[in-house]
């Protein structure tokens, strides 16, 4: 039996939803607001809210001290590149697991996921040494590799669940039509699972964009993405809240916009293909 919905109930639910949304969003709002305060106001007790002298000087200061556009470009390149690498490896891998499974496929999938449960710091030293000896430290390609491989298990899993929904008959029909495996992937599987691939891509871009552990440890200036840009404002001389907030706002702005426009795909992606 469907639950009865009265106008009062709808109003309460709406109010509750907005309240929860506000609570979740509040830290971000506070950060954006702080970025328009002076350093003194940012510290003041009791804290000032909305009614203060708004200033944009922090943004100018941040840009003059550090090169936002370089770091933003690094973020775009590393997030995009690592996603591309992950997809190129994961599409064939997920195809094999979904359509030509062996006895060990399930174990392989679980093993892949289990690597995400290991704390990354456990392999920091070996990877750092490896990167130092191969000259990959503070290079974009180094970050692309580590982020791409780091997110690979999730990408394979997501694609696997999407591919599972595609009837095997259609791929077999392509095979009967004379398609080689490469053409089958390119002309049939990929276009058919485009929504799934798109949401995987989006989620992976966001994960890579926000990744801080590896980017902070493996890059310093030349290849440093926005995470390092933010971190550079928590200086040893003390915290500059307003500037830190300005830097953070600038860092999350692009991904926030991207996320806003692709909400639908993201929700689908986060449910791992469970929702049709």
């Amino acid at each position: 039996m469907a639950r009865r919905t009265t106008p009062a109930k709808i109003a309460t639910n709406t109010a509750a939803a907005w309240l929860v949304g506000f609570i979740i969003f509040f830290p971000i709002l506070w950060m954006i607001e702080t970025s328009f305060k002076t350093e003194l106001q940012a510290f003041s007790t009791p804290p000032v809210f909305l009614f203060f002298h708004w200033t944009t000087e922090n943004y100018g200061e941040v840009q003059s001290r550090s090169n936002y556009f370089l770091h933003a470009a690094n973020s775009i390149i590393t997030a995009g590149g690592s996603t591309l690498i992950a997809l190129v490896i994961a599409i064939p891998a997920a195809w094999a697991m979904a359509f030509a499974p062996s006895k060990r496929t399930k174990d392989t999938l679980l093993w892949m996921l289990s690597t995400k449960m290991m704390p990354p710091v456990g392999v920091l030293v070996p990877i750092y040494l490896l990167y130092r000896d191969t000259g990959l430290l503070d290079s974009r390609i180094g970050l692309i590799i580590v982020l791409g491989l780091g997110n690979l298990p999730i990408v394979v899993w997501m694609l696997f669940t999407y591919f599972k929904e595609i009837p095997k008959d259609i791929l077999e029909a392509a095979r009967m039509d004379g398609a080689t495996i490469g053409k089958e992937l390119l002309f049939v599987l990929t276009p058919m699972s485009l929504p799934g691939i798109a949401s995987t891509l989006l989620l992976n871009v966001i994960l890579a964009w926000n990744e801080a552990f590896w980017t902070l440890n493996l890059s310093s200036s030349h290849a440093a993405p926005l995470t390092a840009f933010i971190a550079s404002f928590s200086a040893p001389e003390g915290l500059f809240w307003a500037k830190l907030s300005a830097a953070s706002t600038m860092a999350i702005a692009p991904i926030l916009v991207l996320g806003w426009f692709s909400q639908k795909q993201l929700v689908r992606g986060l449910t791992f293909g469970a929702v049709k």
Partner: protein
Amino acid sequence: MGSITLEHVKKSFGSNDIIPDASLEIADRSFVVFVGPSGCGKTTLLRLIAGLEDVTAGKVMIDGVDVTNVPPAKRGLSMVFQSYALYPHMSVRGNIGFGLKMAGTARPEIDKKVEHAASILNLTPYLDRKPRELSGGQRQRVAIGRAIVREPKAFLFDEPLSNLDAALRVQMRLEVTHLQRDLATTAVYVTHDQVEAMTMADKIVVLNAGRIEQYGSPLELYERPVNQFVAGFIGSPKMNFITGPAAKEAGAACIGIRPEHIVVTRGGEGWDGTVSVAEHLGSDTFLYVDVPGIGLLTARGTGELGIHSKDKVRLMPTPQHLHRFDEAGRAIR
């Protein structure tokens, strides 16, 4: 050209033998139907010919060339799937032309062939639609169009009509038969429906538990089934099997008589029985008659017999249509 030969083909999944040992010759331009109950291995056998499954042992040959290790794409066969398996993201035009595109055919040539196939199948108005905008019957035609446009050595049909409603199924049955004759291409057709098998086939392969029980023309199978399984599977309603004294009298462990070969009278010769159910179809009357000492027998009379439930009748099997089987179920000739 399109003759298909199976030589001692075996297929196992793990320790499970789906097809223990099958040998078969399918002549060029013939229409061969694989029929059998579900799980008998008929679809597996078709997929072995297609190359979608690898054989465990034995050889598959097309036109005398061993294709056992040739991938499906290179065997020159085309297949119509039970689920149609159309490419949902492509238009009807794209679906039908996909095979030609894969073969590297030039664009104008593809268009010409696709349009020709569409006109044969009455699909011309739908060429630019997506599969989801088509009815079941139209989807079926697209699947067939995709198969014929490549001018394959043979068509493989995997229960293509089972998703259609009864009326459409009869119509498509005719169309497929006509199409195969017009194109003069070998066809292998899998179905569990023995009416489809009888009406469409030049030759029928009856399969049971992965074994080929009999391979012959529809009438051969109907008139001279080699064993009790084939006798029971071909023909509708099913053949009556009688064991016990009545069979002994005929010198067999079991005798079989088809419902249409039993003469039903009210006071003539034969076994006494009581009608338990009478089905009046107008064109035929099916009687389920309880005969003491023998069991329930099915009889079929042409037209309306005017016999009803609980009536007393006499059943007389026509002797020339009696089938006799030994203990192992093999026919005694």
